[in-house]
């Protein structure tokens, strides 16, 4: 069997983070009762006209600029015509044939090496509504339509077929999602359907140059399903070639329950969308000044932020990568540092307790329930010697659960650190007397019993002893250091 190379490209569909829809003033807030976020425009009533939401356009241009795209000017919208009951006008206003962002690139870091991925086009379009099927659809004899989502602005980012492994595909999805979040263009929360991926997958024998027939996979709802679908599809295509068959250029749907892709019925695929320029919208002309202004106002992007965390905060590369991987976490670090906390200490809390607790409770990083202020205050309590490290961990856990301020927790729990040398010296004396073997070993030069002895002191003090002070007292008593 020949060695095969995987070739993947992505179409990323992201919901833009605008307060209102792309062509009307209706709210984009999810979760409203059906058809309450609608108006004559997004319902497509006879006589209405679209007016482009400037904020949606600005988000889209910023993404295009961040992806180093050329900006087509003038750029136009087109109508994509097809009949579906969730599509109010039975056409979708899109830019499929006339994207405003073209020929860009995106630097992807995989396993320490940087790979440049081409961005073929970036364009805007409107979302459709949603069909709601009664429990017993056949018995009910009807379905309902909720148009709350109709007209929500979507951005589509199409990459070239430049990804060569599942790892690269995963890295691309993560990095693209991160970029959108950093730009504030999209909240990109996968579980809310704010970002969707469609993968174009082909394989070819290693060493050959021509691309194999490309299969488009739809219905991918999480990073995990994308990975599984790519692995499945790669194996399916290799198997076809190995058995002398041919891969058909087609669209396939991922069936998560079965763990396989299935060809869409050709009827669903053979649409003639009859694209033509949308006559109700005027061409968009981007002046150099407008583009320069947006480019100048682009926020710090993930790579730059990581470098800053390493260089300005003195964080290890690994920690900086983790912390900047999620914009909300990186924002948290910056905010805590701005409040006076030591960057390394902040990093340690996030990398350690925060991520552990998030993981334990199955929470997403942007759901971190504590504030930068609370963490900065907690760090100050430790730095000031008011509580010890052990107590701080307990306080942190409680902050995480209740959201209470650290001072309140310390007060409520009666935490106070014993740093008084004479009080601690009495406990040290008692512990040394009660554990002569360990004391003798330590005195003889074995470092191991130190931890045990300190632990005994902590226990006697009900966890309130200042550990570094205890350490020093034991060293002094037994080794005269």
């Amino acid at each position: 069997m020949a060695d095969y190379e995987l070739i993947v490209g992505f179409e990323v569909h992201a919901e833009l983070a605008t307060a209102t829809k792309i062509f009307c003033g209706c709210s984009t807030e999810p979760g409203a009762p059906a058809n309450t976020h609608t108006c004559p425009v997004c319902l497509g009533l006879p006589g209405v006209l679209p007016v482009l939401n400037g904020a949606a356009l600005e988000h889209a241009v910023r993404v295009a600029l961040a992806c180093h795209c050329g900006i087509s000017s003038p750029s136009i919208f087109e109508r994509k015509n097809y009949y579906y009951p969730d599509l109010p006008k039975n056409y979708q206003v899109s830019q499929k044939r006339a994207p405003f962002g073209v020929d860009g690139w995106f630097d992807l870091e995989v396993d320490g090496t940087v790979k440049r991925i081409s961005i073929v086009d970036i364009h805007l379009e409107e979302d459709a509504g949603k069909l709601v099927h009664p429990e017993e659809r056949s018995a009910a004899g009807y379905s309902l339509v909720d148009f709350n989502r109709a007209g929500v602005p979507l951005l589509e980012v199409v990459s070239g077929p430049d990804l060569r492994s599942v790892a690269e595909a995963e890295a691309y999805m993560t990095a693209m999602r991160r970029l959108l979040q950093y730009l504030g263009a999209s909240d990109a929360r996968m579980e809310l359907g704010q970002i969707r991926f469609e993968a174009n997958i082909s394989v070819r024998p290693v060493g050959t140059e021509t691309l194999g027939k490309r299969v488009e996979i739809k219905n991918l709802n999480s990073f995990r399903t994308v990975t599984r679908a790519i692995e499945y599809e790669m194996a399916r295509q290799i198997d076809l070639y190995e058995r002398g068959g041919a891969v058909a250029q087609e669209t396939r749907l991922w069936d998560d329950a079965r763990g396989e892709t299935q060809a869409m019925r050709s009827k669903e695929e053979s649409h003639d969308y009859r694209y033509f320029p949308e006559p109700d919208l005027v061409p968009m002309v981007f002046t150099d000044a407008y583009l320069a202004d947006l480019a100048a106002k682009l926020p710090e992007l993930p790579a730059a932020r990581r470098t800053r965390f390493i260089e300005a905060f003195g964080l290890p590369e690994y920690d900086a990568a983790i912390l900047t991987g999620e914009k909300t976490i990186a924002d948290f670090v910056d905010a805590a540092v701005a409040l006076g906390a030591n960057p390394k200490t902040v990093s340690n809390w996030i990398m350690g307790e925060a991520l552990r607790l998030l993981n334990e409770k199955g929470l997403a990083p942007d759901a971190l329930p504590i504030t930068p202020r609370a963490l900065a205050d907690l760090i100050a309590l430790v730095d000031d010697g008011k509580i010890n490290a052990n107590q701080a961990k307990q306080v942190f856990a409680e902050m995480f659960d209740s959201g209470a301020a650290p001072e309140e927790i310390v007060k409520a729990r009666g935490f106070a650190q014993i740093s008084d040398v004479s009080a601690l010296a009495a406990i040290v004396d008692a512990v040394v007397a009660a554990n002569p073997d360990a004391a003798a070993k330590y005195t003889a030069g074995d470092d191991k019993p130190l931890g045990f002895l300190v632990g005994q002191v902590m226990k006697q003090s009900r966890g309130q002893a200042n550990a570094p002070v205890v350490n020093a007292l034991i060293r002094k008593k037994l080794r005269g250091e």
């Binding site: 004559p40 319902l43 497509g44 009533l45 006879p46 006589g47 209405v48 006209l49 679209p50 007016v51 482009l52 109508r79 015509n81 009949y83 009951p85 109010p88 006008k89 039975n90 056409y91 379905s143 339509v145 003639d272 009859r274 694209y275 033509f276 006559p279 109700d280 919208l281 005027v282």
Partner: protein, 497 residues
Amino acid sequence: MTELYTLTAHAAHALLTAREVSARALLESVLARIDAVEPRLHSYLRLLPETARAQADAVDAKIAAGEAIGPLEGIPLALKDILCTTGVPTTCASRMLENFIPPYDATVVRRLREAGVIVVGKTNMDEFAMGSSTENSAFGPSHNPWDLSRVPGGSSGGSASAVGGDEALLGIGTDTGGSIRQPAAYCGVVGLKPTYGRVSRYGLIAFASSLDQVGPITKDVTDAALLMNAIAGPDPCDSTCFPEAAPDYTAGLGRSIAGLRIGVPREFFTQEGVQVDAGVERAVRTALDLYAKLGAEIEECSLPNVRFSLPTYYIIAPAEASSNLARYDGVEFGYRQTGTKDIIGMMTASRDRGFGMEVKRRIMLGTYVLSSGYYDAYYLKASQVRTLIRQDFERAFERYDVLVSPTAPSVAFPLGAKVDDPMQMYLNDICTIPINMAGIPALSLPCGYDRGLPVGLQLMGAHWAEPALLQAAYAYEQAAGWTRTAVDEAGRVTAAG
């Protein structure tokens, strides 16, 4: 005494402000006239006498309180049933929208209301504005007030027959390929298609978005200018609407036109397959003689690409229509055929029953020309030719202030004469369609008679040149002195003098 319903809007305004006549009396006169002639004309699809009376009484209260009223306040108007009106069915003369009640007002309707204009009813038209005779109305044709056996023109035939037949003092129409000007010509009234983008299209139920435009149908040029003042101007709800404020369209009325440069494009008189009727041409040439006497310089000219207007129009307009009318699928609003076995069946049957023949013909044409493999040969090519047509006009307007032609190749034709021959029906718009392709303004005004029926004179101007058109039209109207109508007891209108 003169019946109030025969008045122009500006004459009625003078009586209202002089307190010689009340708005209510004016309205009642119009409503009585409608009672008398509507069974023969069928200009209206729906009358709104109760809201109209309430509005008239409110205007009278204002006058009684000593408040000033606007120039069109209290004036009864006939509104084409293609403009959305809150709470009042807006049908486009289609079964498809027979029960459609808009929850919002078109921008033009809002502006009319703000100007105090009284909408007495919504007028008949060709279904979805597709036609030149109102015979494509799903609710029966309108009749020409000059000869009830003839069409009033279309698609704004109901507004034109209402104004021409004195069933309203003012009318609003829409014009995609001549739908204001041709019926105005046929009914012996004034019709203005403004520059594309001059009047908001928000709430105008779209036929062909890049061509549609709302405009006035009135008894004289002054009223057209006044009505333009009420409806023109920028609208944040319409991205294609010109963002600058509209001028006062009455400002140039009465100014001399000495030195006006008039071009007479020969393609508007004779073209392959179409020849303007001799009587129509004679009326137009006589009008040009009068313009010469008024000091205009007149010159023959040529716009060679204008001959491609009709085929280009019948690609672009149906293409846009096929998409604009896709929303009528029985799902959300409009006619729904029940009892079908699935959603596709419901959509198909609803569209089959809801649309008339001409609408279906154009949807199919438009779907075809946009289809994969045909787009470049048809739609794209037509868009390029459209640019050539526009450039022809731009070049002409470097030399001329106004172009003059007949509005239509003939006077009103008999009902039924062209219904079975769509090509003959389409050719009737040969003089008006080029204007929509170029996006420029054009005005039709009466310039005499051929075989006792009114002939329309078409004045064309450069983009945003409505003031120049109105000035030139006014000068002619005053000099020619056509006494508009004499009304007989049966409600028929005949040429006087």
